[in-house]
């Protein structure tokens, strides 16, 4: 189940991004490495198939390093441990959680660890930071590197003292002899050495039950720099002689330039105007001059007629049927899961239900808009940019400018959030194009309106569910068709003997891409709302109905934990107060959410209280995890209640915070997080799954209070609908 859902997620990512081929770029010679890092001990984690060819051992002095390395760490002469990973920090706190795990396995204080992240010249290739993959995949690699470094240090001390390794222990950055009490710091062992250790990627890790640094709520690494304003985001950076860049945006999507007059802009001192195809941009010595020059451009655009939001769901269904017709050619990219016989299921059903759910386009609206600073120097392009895919952006830049990947370096400073919205290199390409023309470094920072218009959106979608229950309340068949929104989290965690679950891609009038949780949010909304509707049809309590149809112990455990903490069933819903529950599993995480809503006379809904139980295996940092979970719940409120991109004929109608409502202080309920710590299970990621329960739990609570069933996200953009013809 977990593997399948990861498969669906990857399919969905592939749908949004052209994922580059795995790029085995690690051709530094050993001596280059130590020139870069200084002397010491270098530990490289290699894919096992590479080691099968090259065998794991200390590399003889003149050998090259293997061409494929997943991660590495270096212990310097001063005892500083530098860890290199292509993963990036966007607020999910992996700089801290990865540091903790390395410190744990290496037996050093957290403060001695420095993480170098997302720099394509310094870190190993990484596909990108998405899909909650850092904790389950990168962390074990780094832990393994640390374990190997520790073993190598013990071996070095044993050799130096001519004792058995069995008498030596590693603790607090030192190797000690338990018999003689003699000890030596790691840095003294590695001094003036240039040692390389290659290790296979099969873990021999410290069990979570024995963790001392990992598993604890250590404070955010570099936290002080964020509260003082010292941290430099991309948008804060400067380079000597840097210019400020602006890009002329078309007046609608899919428009092409029909005329352009740049003469007025070009008269402004210091301004460079770049016109290359449909790209028109400005580089100027100051931000205000760039804005003024942009305003002085005279352009006319021609664009095709485009559909508007009122026609959206019909369009998605229609184009998906068209896609279906192409399936004979084998180019239809869908996910289809079939078990049992739907006919048999229908025959066994005593009651059936058929409903449709929809989700709107929503925007990530990261508070730091897309930004990039590009510099061409000595034939090499360096771009600092906030992206979840530094290596992917390097590839985009190399392709765009017809240069080799080796002549592009992408550096990702810790960024002002992303939520799946910063996979592409748009700002990087714009800054690089302008910098190339101007012959000076150029910084491009998108405006909020640009961010709301020219980034990409969480896909809209339509979901049809047909289902049936037997007389005892067990679900006997389940047909689930998702049009356009995506296949992530599409499979039901409930035990249903006969089902067909299918994703149908469709044409999207707006540019779409990854969004925190992908379509699992839409699929959980539809599924968990429908389960609630079935419980109502069966006249069984919502929680009891779910548990009755569940044989997944981990999911059961979080349902029970959430219900217990919430006091589920203690109080009955009334006209002004409703209680709802929802849950599910995705990307190795298990969550159950209980919500209490208040309905006032004017039909406005206030979410009063949310309890979420969450389990993601062994917890690496409980405080960081709680922060992620409660943050995801708050972000979920936006898409559940009021966030929606409105559009008409190729234009976004609400590209401002004044018109696109995001959750604020006043929207935030009391939130309690109940963590289920399974130290016996590997750690899973938790950046996405905690978002998925909020919408259905709140919708179910609204139904419990009002009898109004809301099947479209957002549910209450203008308060509670007065009538609900589609409702039960």
């Amino acid at each position: 189940m977990a593997d399948d859902s990861i498969g669906d997620g990857l399919l969905e990512v592939q749908q949004h991004n052209s994922i580059p081929r795995i790029d085995y770029r690690f051709e530094l010679q050993r001596r280059d490495f130590f020139k870069l890092l200084g002397a010491g001990l270098l530990v490289c984690v290699c894919s096992s198939h590479v080691l099968a060819q090259e065998s794991g051992r200390t590399v003889p002095s003149d050998d090259d390093l293997p061409k494929s390395v997943d991660a590495w760490l270096h212990i310097g002469e001063d005892g500083t441990i530098t860890v290199y990973t292509g993963k990036v920090e966007v607020g999910q706190n992996i700089r801290t959680s990865l540091s903790q795990q390395v410190a744990e396995e290496l037996r050093v204080p957290l403060s001695s660890i420095r993480m170098v992240m997302g720099d394509t010249d310094l870190t190993p290739y990484d596909m990108g930071t998405f899909g909650s993959r850092t904790t389950p995949t990168m962390a074990p690699l780094l832990r393994n590197a640390a374990v190997s470094a520790r073993s190598a240090l013990i071996a070095m001390a044993a050799e130096r003292w001519r004792v058995s390794s069995a008498d030596l222990v590693a603790a607090d950055g030192k190797i000690s002899n338990i018999k003689t009490k003699q000890s030596i710091a790691y840095s003294d062992l590695t001094k003036k050495k240039q040692l390389v250790t290659l290790i296979p990627d099969d873990p021999m890790l410290t069990p979570a039950q024995d963790w001392h640094v990992a598993g604890t709520s250590v404070p955010k690494v570099d936290g002080r720099a964020f509260v003082t304003g010292e941290h430099k985001y991309t948008s804060d950076m400067t380079r000597p002689n840097m210019l400020y860049g602006k890009v002329l945006r078309a007046n609608s999507f899919h428009a092409s330039l029909s005329s352009l007059d740049t003469s007025a802009a070009e008269k402004i001192p210091g301004v460079t105007v770049v016109h290359d195809g449909d790209f028109v941009g400005i580089a100027a010595p100051s931000d205000v001059t760039a804005v003024r020059a942009l305003a002085a451009l005279r352009a006319q655009w021609s664009a095709p007629q485009q559909i508007s939001d009122a026609e959206l769901f019909e369009h998605l269904r229609k184009t998906s049927e068209d896609a279906g017709k192409e399936s004979a050619n084998g180019d239809r990219q869908n996910a289809r899961h079939v078990i049992g016989s739907l006919e048999q299921g229908r025959a066994n059903a005593s009651k059936t239900l058929s409903q449709t759910y929809t989700v709107a386009y929503i925007a990530h609206a990261p508070l730091e808009p897309r930004a990039a600073l590009a510099e061409w120097k000595d034939g090499k392009l360096t771009v600092w940019t906030g992206t979840q895919r530094p290596f992917g952006v390097r590839e985009e830049l190399a392709e765009t400018f017809h240069i080799s990947k080796d002549s592009v370096r992408v550096i990702m400073p810790d960024t002002g959030s992303a939520y799946g919205g910063k996979h592409t290199g748009d700002a990087a390409i714009e800054a690089a194009r302008l910098a190339k023309a101007a012959g000076k470094p150029v910084k491009v920072v998108w405006t909020r309106e640009e961010e709301f218009t020219w980034a990409y959106f969480r896909p809209a979608g339509v979901i049809d569910i047909k289902s049936g229950i037997a007389g005892d309340g067990t679900v006997v068949f389940w047909e689930f068709d998702n049009y356009a929104s995506g296949p992530s989290g599409i499979q039901t965690p409930y035990k249903v003997p006969n089902h067909r679950i299918e994703f149908h891609p469709a044409d999207s009038p707006l540019r779409t891409g990854s969004y925190r949780g992908l379509a699992a949010t839409a699929n959980h909304f539809a599924r968990e709302t429908h389960m609630d509707e079935l419980a109502h049809v069966a006249a069984i309590d919502s929680l009891e109905f779910r548990l009755k149809n569940l044989d997944n112990d981990r999911l059961r455990a979080v349902f029970e934990a959430a219900a217990h903490k919430f006091g589920w069933g203690r109080e009955k819903s009334s006209a002004t107060k409703g209680f709802g529950i929802a849950g599910g599993t995705e990307k190795g995480g298990y969550m159950a959410t209980c919500a209490e809503v208040e309905v006032n006379h004017a039909g406005s809904i206030k979410i009063r209280r949310v309890i979420q139980a969450f389990e993601c295996g062994a917890i690496v940092n409980p405080n960081g995890l709680r922060n992620q979970i409660s943050g995801a719940i708050v972000q979920g409120i936006g898409g559940a209640m009021f966030e929606a991109i409105r559009f008409e004929n190729g234009r976004i109608l609400n590209p401002h915070f004044a018109d696109y409502r995001v959750p604020r202080f006043a929207d935030t309920p009391q939130i309690e997080v109940e963590l289920v710590n399974r130290k016996d299970l590997p750690s899973a990621g938790a950046g996405e799954t905690p978002l998925m329960g909020l919408a259905p739990a709140v919708g179910n609570a609204i139904f419990a209070a009002t009898g109004i069933r809301l099947r479209s996200l957002p549910m209450v953009p203008n308060g509670l609908p007065q009538s609900n013809p589609a409702g039960m």
Partner: protein, 162 residues
């Protein structure tokens, strides 16, 4: 035109048009980038600074208005290497994720506590509602403000650098 800005106790002479925003001057001219651009429309609070003790949106404030007044930015809160109680509380409560809204949140919170040393939760929500944290750390920010309010030093008004 030439303007004199008094930022965190230091005078800065700046040549600019009178309608250039304080945010643009801080970030692009003076390289004081702790104050963030979030929307340029006064809707998100990332650019919040104090002018004569009041929280204002620097993206909506022309330099001509700010000139001659006492401006405090997030860079001006640390005294002798010591964090302001609100900064300290944000750090201790870990009331941030990506941290991009944090300087603006902190400045709004400082202004709130200067005027209302012991705000109720409802007052905090009302006064902070113009600041957006897209990562959704609002509950922690409320806790941090309550913590700063109850710490001894915070009831004293910030008189940063004169």
């Amino acid at each position: 035109m030439s303007f004199t800005l008094l930022i965190n106790g230091t005078e800065h002479r700046v040549d600019s048009s009178s309608d250039e925003t304080l945010l643009s001057i801080l970030r692009n001219v003076l390289n004081q980038t702790g104050t963030k651009y979030g929307c340029g429309e006064g809707q998100c609070g990332a650019c919040t600074v104090l002018i004569d003790g009041r929280a204002v949106r620097s993206c909506q404030t022309p330099i001509s208005y700010a000139a001659g007044k006492k401006i405090i930015t997030v860079e001006g809160l640390v005294t002798n290497g010591k964090l302001h109680p609100v900064q300290q509380a944000f750090l201790e409560e870990e009331a941030l994720q990506c941290g991009y809204c944090t300087p603006g949140m902190i400045m709004s919170a400082v202004a709130l506590l200067n005027g209302t040393p012991n705000p109720s939760e409802q007052e905090i929500i009302r006064r902070m509602d113009g600041n957006v944290c897209r990562c959704g750390t609002y509950r922690r920010i409320i806790s941090a403000i309550q913590k700063a309010a109850s710490s001894k030093t915070s009831s004293k008004k910030v008189e940063t650098h004169g």
